[in-house]
């Protein structure tokens, strides 16, 4: 048995499921717990966790998939940029298929644009070093998890004088959107399965204002099945005791203070800004933009382009799905006009999107 197998142990999971069932037995109204991390969305679907939880526990997905919350206007800017002769766009694979107002990066690549999938901003930097006569733009989306590595790549590029490397940044930060959703009377969230990787950076203490202002239980939870089941059990216990506090289930990785070094690097390169979230509109202070000291690496400032007029996709309910207000299958486009092959909304595109998870594992 290897390290990973221990966290997927069938008997441990079964034991936790039995305990959750005992604790919630006889309750009329289900407890609703929201996760706000694409990896949790996928793990819950992939292992079939909903199928082993009692009906008194309902798991819903929030705005945790970075590709999904990225607005159309960002895709449109990337599409406009990739049409500049000689430019190389580098991106994590999931961004390729997201439809913008009228096109996607995948379509532009098929038409001849130089767009390459990379696994890390360091790969993009290496490409810039190898092609000094070309501008290389990395599409920097994500939460606090990817921000430090991207900030690090900018710092390295600055040190090496790599003046043909740029980042088109659209970073977002937690936990403020969680506070907005917790205050939404329509949603009635009974507890948060807090993100694992984001929390490794920001630390468990970051959720204290959320708990104090909204009185909602928060448990920082790992990604393996035993982690998720234990995180759910901890949330159930808080609800039954009528308390709300921050707890860390994923203590083998997450500390109360988080990763100080990563926080410093983010602060060195980025500055907080207002951010547009698909479905949630503009939320003050929830974005990160490249600060003035590193403006030379900011693609938005350094490479001006004319961006087409924004068009939202008619009938797409990604926004409501990202807020947890409806399930993917409640959207009239789900599985009919919107499929992974011909996605209308971002939630069907990203491998971490709620709709993609629902389509892939349950249809």
């Amino acid at each position: 048995m290897n390290y990973l197998d221990q966290f997927q142990d069938r008997n441990v999971v079964r034991g936790l499921a039995d305990r959750i069932a005992q604790l919630t037995a006889g309750r009329a109204a289900p407890m609703t717990f929201m996760e706000v991390c694409g990896t949790h969305t996928m793990a819950i679907s992939r292992y079939g966790i909903r199928s082993i939880l009692p009906s008194q526990v309902r798991l819903i997905s929030g705005p945790g998939c970075p590709v999904c919350v990225t607005p159309n206007s960002y895709i449109d800017r990337a599409v406009a940029m990739c049409r500049i002769p000689g430019i190389i766009i580098t991106t994590f694979g999931d961004m390729m298929r997201v439809p913008g107002s009228s096109s996607s990066l995948m379509e532009q690549r098929a038409k001849g644009a130089d767009i390459r999938t990379v696994y890390s901003p360091l790969d993009a930097m290496a490409l810039a070093a190898k092609n000094r006569d070309r501008q290389v733009v990395f599409l920097g989306v994500g939460f606090e998890t990817t921000a430090p590595a991207i900030a690090g790549s900018i710092l390295t590029a600055a040190r090496q004088g790599l003046d043909n490397y740029f980042v088109l940044a659209s970073h977002k930060v937690m936990p403020k959107p969680m506070e907005i959703l917790a205050a939404d009377p329509e949603l009635k969230i009974d507890g948060y399965i807090c993100p694992a990787h984001v929390s490794a950076i920001i630390g468990g203490n970051a959720y204290r204002p959320l708990v104090e202002n909204q009185h909602v239980p928060c448990v920082v939870t790992g990604f393996e099945p035993t982690d998720i089941m234990q995180g759910v059990e901890m949330l159930v216990r808080q609800v039954l005791e009528g308390v709300s506090r921050v707890e860390i289930q994923y203590s083998r990785v997450v500390s109360w203070d988080g990763n100080k070094k990563a926080q410093e690097i983010i602060a060195q390169v980025f500055t907080p800004c207002d951010a547009q979230w698909r479905g949630m509109g503009t939320i003050p202070g929830t974005g990160l933009e490249i600060n003035d000291a590193y403006a030379a690496f900011d693609a938005q400032k350094a490479i001006p382009v004319e961006v087409e007029e924004l068009q939202e996709h008619a009938g797409c309910l990604c926004g409501e799905i990202l807020k947890g207000k409806i399930a993917p299958s409640d959207c009239p486009l789900f599985g009919t006009t919107c499929t992974p092959e011909a996605p209308v909304g971002a939630c069907m595109v990203s491998s971490e999107g709620s709709c993609a998870a629902a389509y892939k594992y349950m249809n």
């Binding site: 990973l4 997927q8 292992y47 439809p99 098929a110 038409k111 092959e341 349950m362």
Partner: protein, 336 residues
């Protein structure tokens, strides 16, 4: 969106490939659907039945641990014939070479083809060579076609799975796809993952001894085990249920898949076959596989549960239930 464009995903072997086949290729070339959704066409002629198949190889990189584009091209076509229960006999080779390619490298590829053909007991009988200007192809592409003959009357094809049947695989899944990916992307792993490329006709000969109990044979190449089983489920009109805990998987492959977010069930294999057999024959088939060099890690991974419109489910390691679907979009372009 512009729907006129061919996308990389149309070559993935998954859902988009099926769409292109169904909507454009098969209707335009009426007559080729004799292959149905099987690996090779089976054609009746005066002196019996004949299996015929073709496949093109564009793998990048052309050399990888465990093989190269040459033996891959021979084994792939041999396997497509073998999956119909035919004995592979004759192979053609079409080479498309980029100007400036090395003769030494070509010699290595050709000798791998010869060796693979000898091992599989097939003859390379005809071929063609084209050279295109630099930049108009990537190093070398190879097409192979093959003819196989039948020495039995068994009808092995994707329509023959029925409730109660067991699903058996001859070894670990995802090795080829992860090997090519790791080599191409320069992933620095502690162990070398080798491609499983191999001719499976010898193993099939063993399995054919089970006669009528052998219902379906299919090699899970592009699109992986998930796509192949979904195709069979739809063709046969049944539900297939897998046991995740029983899937043979190398630790290194499992690790790379976990890091990169790939599902090993969607990753390509080049030396694997799925056998769907009557329940009473399952243990014997497993034994036959394990006694053959191509099947030492063989395992029973699931069963056909019921008649349906065609579905695949899996009981996960923790006892949950989820659906399995075809590969969607492009996972790893140029894997074979």
């Amino acid at each position: 969106m512009d729907h006129d464009l061919i996308l990389l995903g149309h070559g993935s072997g998954g859902r988009l490939s099926h769409q292109l086949l169904d909507e454009l290729i098969i209707p335009s070339l009426s007559g080729i659907s004799v292959a149905g959704q099987n690996d090779a066409a089976v054609i009746a002629h005066d002196s019996g039945r004949l299996a015929f198949t073709t496949d093109s190889y564009v793998v990048d990189p052309i050399f990888f641990p465990g093989g190269n584009i040459g033996d891959l091209a021979v084994n792939g076509t041999v396997n497509d014939l073998a999956m119909m229960g035919a004995t592979p006999r004759y192979i053609s080779v079409g080479l498309i070479i980029e100007e400036g390619f090395s003769k030494k490298e070509l010699a290595v590829i050709l000798s791998a083809m010869r060796e693979a053909a000898d091992l599989a007991g097939v003859q390379i009988v005809t071929g063609d060579t084209k050279v295109v200007p630099k930049g108009k192809a990537d190093r070398i592409f190879i097409n192979t076609s093959g003819i196989g003959l039948f020495d039995h009357d068994l009808r092995i094809n994707g329509c023959a799975a029925r409730p109660g049947d067991k699903i058996i695989i001859n070894g670990t899944i995802g090795d080829h796809g992860i090997c090519v990916l790791a080599t191409r992307e320069g992933l620095d792993l502690q162990t070398v993952i080798e491609s499983d490329t191999a001719a499976l006709n010898g193993l099939v000969t063993e399995l054919l001894k089970e006669g009528e109990a052998l219902h379906v044979l299919r090699d899970p190449t592009r699109g992986g085990v998930a796509t192949t089983l979904k195709e069979i489920a739809v063709q046969s009109g049944v539900t297939i249920k897998l046991q995740e805990a029983d899937l043979p998987l190398k630790d290194a492959v499992k690790g790379v898949c976990a890091i990169l977010g790939l599902d090993p069930l969607h990753v390509a294999n080049e030396g694997k076959l799925l056998a769907i057999v009557a329940p009473e024959a399952a243990e014997r088939v497993l034994e036959r596989m394990r006694n053959h060099p191509c099947g030492v890690d063989a395992a029973i991974i699931g069963e056909v549960t019921q008649v349906s419109a065609g579905a695949v489910q899996m009981e996960t390691t923790i006892g949950g239930l989820r659906a399995i679907d075809m590969l969607s979009g492009e996972q790893l372009p140029r894997i074979c």
